[in-house]
């Protein structure tokens, strides 16, 4: 009799615990992040393996040491003035961006806040995939999750990740090394 009563007493706590786990691990992340789509598909493979381009043709350093990042529509239109391969994604790019002279609003997986300073050339010895998703071998865009509150990408590197690597490599963790 007493045993039975005890188990009934525990039941709401067990249900509440499981409910909290489901909410915390399952529902809340879904509520916090919204999945976003890139404007259109861009294949690194077809540019590198089929056309024979080099990574540094688009992602290069300027003479002042800053990094070019993603090429501008003007740079792309050096080749893509017109539709060349009848590819649906290429048609979108040429018709909606090259002819309209607009920049493509790519979603950047590692976009940092305005007060963070990052120098690509200072991190040259590392592979790009240490921080960036491996898009150069991807057949489709990795999923992009946007934080509904902060509007940042879920995969943006957090400050503790930067600090841990700096501590491990003996690099200074002074505030002004990464902040502006």
């Amino acid at each position: 009799m007493a045993k039975k009563k005890k188990s009934y007493l525990l039941l709401p706590f067990v249900v509440g615990f499981i409910g909290a786990l489901v909410f915390g691990w399952g529902l809340f992340p879904k509520m916090l992040f919204s999945e976003k789509q890139q404007p259109f598909w861009f294949s690194h493979i077809s540019h590198v393996e089929v056309v024979g381009m080099d990574c540094y043709d688009c992602h290069y350093y300027y003479e002042d040491g800053s990094f070019s990042g993603i090429p501008t529509t003007e740079e792309c239109s050096a080749c893509h003035m017109d539709v060349m391969f009848d590819d649906p994604d290429e048609i979108i790019f040429v018709e909606q961006y090259v002819w309209e002279e607009k920049e493509v609003p790519w979603l950047i997986y590692q976009k940092q806040p305005d007060n963070v300073y990052f120098s690509h050339i200072a991190h040259e010895m590392y592979d790009c995939q240490t921080c960036h998703p491996a898009v150069e071998t991807a057949e489709a865009w990795p999923k992009y999750y946007e934080n509904r509150l902060t509007k940042y990408s879920r995969d943006t590197m957090k400050m503790w990740e930067c600090e841990r690597c700096h501590a491990e490599t003996g690099t200074s963790n002074a505030c002004y090394v990464c902040h502006k």
Partner: protein, 258 residues
Amino acid sequence: MAIYKLKEFKIKWGMVIDLDKCTGCGACMISCQAENNMAPMPDATDKLYSMTWMLVYRLSNGKPFPDHDIAYLPRPCVQCGNPNCVPVCPVIATTKDEEGGIVSQISPRCIGCRYCMAACPYRARYFNWHDPVWPQGMEKTLTPFTSTRPRGVVEKCHYCHHRFKAAKEKARYDGRDPNKLDEDDYTTACAQNCPTGAITFGDLMNPEHKVAKLAKSPYAFRLLERLGTDPQLYYMSKREWVRRQGDNYLEHEPTKGV
């Protein structure tokens, strides 16, 4: 003197301002505001609320004509070797820990308590009383190199720190050591735009830099030097009365310098 252990730096970015060359034109103040994304103030004449990391003071020898003389004294953050603002900060938003000796100020971390402003004997720190608002069209003058600050945080001069970073990037691109910058690699906006060349900028620890020599000049002095703050900003003037106003002297005490 210091209540906590001071860091030793191999590089100390510093300035020497020749007060005999300064005409008080204010080009340094304007170039600072443009360089560091400062919004136009609602009322720039109200000096209690205006933001001027670089501020030109007017000094007078107090004598009547014909002996009257004036001097202008531009005052950015003096980047103390022993900063008063750093130990009072409850959230470590301001530190002096990076090579180069520039006192950092991280505005997203600042809680706006203004202890640092009370602690700074040079009044080099400013509080954002208003939201920064750029009139339509003027937001195009914003640069991506300095982050803008919101209302409710303290900010201050950081010797155009983004230019320091850019200089290091350029040095890396050229295959040079980013910790051995030349004098021409890195300068502040105020030093660059001073029409009379009154402001000299460089590494005080590097004997090849002009500032290292000028700082040892017999005419060089620092503001309120006897407080023990050890600033990285030097002034120089051949006029004794100007040097005398740089510190608190008793009547019988001789002025420092020649």
